[in-house]
């Protein structure tokens, strides 16, 4: 159970977040989300609303946001659901943070393809910049988590920071990325090497004749 999130002290959280309410824009957005689902199926809106709430908490704390218990209860009451039902959802999905995170939520993929391609180096780079798994750095900038496959295996190893993927990382490029983020400099989203999305590195490796013109391979079939 060591990996299970440790919910922060309830009394403090209630004092801080007990009077959570939507901002006017988010209230409008929430109404739109709820209207997507047929009458009597409002339970379906719990996931988008939790996401919206997490983002609002993030905006209010200048972090990536998390879901304090009173905020979960707020969402549940808005949908007329038992607190437990929404709490179950919030604890099930890893993209809902049950503990505060930093400004940059660094989620390193550690599943097999990334591991084989060097996610250990990425983690080592994070460690070199003072990040440790499951914790937020003292300056509140970075929170590091190791996550399961994020579906970008072609570009392994990769991390997801906030809503963006950073791919084809190495020890050095990870360091550079973290430094740029910490300094507030713009960063390149996607592959960190010279590569377009998930196209082959260094140009096509198969069907090369097709690059410039149509080519009939049928004659070459043996």
């Amino acid at each position: 159970m060591a990996d299970a999130p440790q919910i922060p002290d309830e009394a403090d959280v209630r004092a801080r977040w007990g009077n959570f309410a939507w901002t006017p824009e988010n209230a409008e957005q929430a109404a739109k989300i709820i209207a997507r689902y047929p009458e009597g199926r409002q339970q379906s809106a719990s996931m988008p609303l939790l996401d919206l709430a997490q983002r609002q908490v993030g905006a209010q704390t200048n972090t990536q946001g998390w879901l304090p218990v009173p905020v979960i209860e707020f969402v549940a009451s808005q949908l007329g659901l038992a607190y437990m039902r929404v709490y179950e959802v919030a604890t099930f999905y890893t993209m809902y943070n049950l503990t505060p995170v930093g400004k940059f939520h660094v989620q390193v993929c550690g599943t097999t393809p990334c591991m084989l391609r060097g996610s250990d180096d990425v983690l080592a780079a994070c460690k070199a910049r003072g990040l440790s798994k499951g914790h937020t750095t003292a300056d509140g900038l970075f929170t590091l988590n190791e996550v399961e496959c994020l579906g970008a295996c072609t570009n392994a190893p990769m991390v997801q920071i906030n809503d963006d993927n950073f791919e084809d990382l190495s020890y050095d490029s990870t360091l550079a990325l973290l430094d740029a983020l910490a300094a507030g400099k713009p960063v390149k989203i996607g592959p960190q090497i010279d590569r377009q999305t998930s196209c082959p590195e260094g140009g096509p490796t198969v069907l090369k004749e097709m690059v410039t013109e149509n080519h009939d391979y049928r004659g070459e079939w043996q």
Binding site: M1, A82, Y83, M84, Y87
Partner: protein
Amino acid sequence: MPKLTVDGIEIEVPAGSTVLQACEAAGKEIPRFCYHERLSIAGNCRMCLVEVAPGPPKPQASCALPAMEGQTIRTDSPMVKAAREGVMEFLLINHPLDCPICDQGGECDLQDQAVAYGRGASRFHENKRAVTEKYMGPIVKTIMTRCIQCTRCVRFAEEVAGVEEIGAINRGENMQITSYLERAVTSELSGNVVDLCPVGALTAKPYAFEARPWELTKVSGIDVMDAMGTNVRFDVRGRQVLRIVPRINEDVNEEWAHDKTRHVVDGLSARRLDKPYVRKNGKLAPASWEEAFKAVAAAAKSAKASVAAVAGDMVDCETMFAARELVHALGGSMLEGRQTGLAYDTSSLSAVNFNTGIANVETADVILLVGSDLRREAPLVNARVLKAVRKRGAKVFAIGPETELNYKVEWLGASLKALTNLPAHVADALKGAERPALIVGGGALRYAGAHGAALKLAADFNLVREGWNGFNVLHFAASRMGGLMLGYAFEGGIKAVAAEKPKLAFFLGADEVNFDLFADTFKVYVGHHGDAGAHAADVILPGAAYTEKAGTYVNLEGRVQRGERAVFAPGDAREDWAIFRALSDVVGKTLPFDNLDQLRAAMATAVPALGQQGLADYGWEVPNLPADPDADVADYPIKDFYLTNAICRASATMQRCSAELVHGETFAEAAE
């Protein structure tokens, strides 16, 4: 009606049955953990795998598979055997081998099924997972490492108890069953999850480490904590009842019992009256039976015919009958059971009965509650109403101060005037209803005109029709209907009895009476607990609690049921009817029965319905009563669900429940 073959046996099952039910119909045992007849189907334990053709060539979960025409099902094939062994091995991977210290040992589904369907050895050599204990309140003890995540408790909390406070949080390896934020579950039915839990994850906290199931003698009884007449089993070891669990009775309690029924048991061995007492110089002093009887006989002599009997909430019909016969023999006629002062008309028992029937309430489509806090007065009737709301979309309206019921209720205000002048939409709903039910509680009955107005409403809206009687009065004393059948109702109620200034009064376990009214009366308390009644008494004759005597009880719907004696009363205490029989000898008016059978025969002669178990037929007669209520329902009779009678008040468990769940005190958990 699909026809299918199970292990070569051809059977026909009702449409909508599952394969598991079909297998059971064919007499085949299907092991299961998550499936439960009274809960929704989850299909997550995978223990009920069977081979089904036509279908994919792999075992299928029979609990969630509809039975179809022409299916061929095998429950005895090598594939099924291997599947069960595999599932069992997986379930046991994370299950601790702590059966020797587990309270579920001996009545554990996992234990039994591991023996019957398991491999016998595990191939798993890694570490097992461990889960921290969860706090679920004063009744349920959790050892969550044992949990196999069948989610029966989660479904029970939502579907039967109506409190969505138990759930499964996190996922995968980290999944845990817990109450919301590990708070106490605020349901009066929470103890049932202990019976539902197929393993030892949820066990009864007050019963922890008390006994092994095979040490216990099991005796059938009837619960007296409320007027439901819940069918229970007393589990006895030696001279003590150690545990009370429900028996299945579809018409009454299904297989549930509320927490008071289950855990009042420690109250049975505390504050007991185990010898007679006689008041001397203003103080109660222990006495022998002879001295006590002599004192009563002297009082009876001077009282002449001015004798009364007041029945408490938990007495059996035999006690009330014996007391009645003695009062009559002494020339008295004052009998009353409604201790707290209710004085409704009892000329027609059908007008004070729960006519719809407990089981039928769940088929009602519109329900109007009048002055009834259903959840506290009859939690299991409330569970039926919840079922009506959840399954059939019944609408519930209520007149009375708002109280926390666990389904959607439209409150019509506290004024009883609403009875004679229903809001238009409620009237329309009642008119349009096929099975409308009106439930009148003690909160309303105490006001003049309310009873008549409710009966008039029943007539106006045609609540009583062919095959359906929608008029109900909800009692919450186990002795009430029996008492009314035996004539324990004095015109004007207990105040009128007091106004007659009886010289001698027998209080049969009556503790809720305002004894100030009986200041000049020689009070004889026949009961089992040292509570209000004993404090006020001039003579105490120690009687037997409901576990210590065979008794007939009539529940709120007029169902006559008999319980058996599980243990003997402590010390010098005797069965109540025997006390009256012995006393009648001393006062020179010997009652004509020497044993329980003779008493029951005499009782059956006097009130034939009490001689036969089952629903008593009261017919349907409407007394002519004033129907002009002009009052607001101020409050409900039950202020503290856990402390409603002398036995609960003596129970440490019930006191703890009251402090924590009613008064909101918090308790630090002792470290184990």
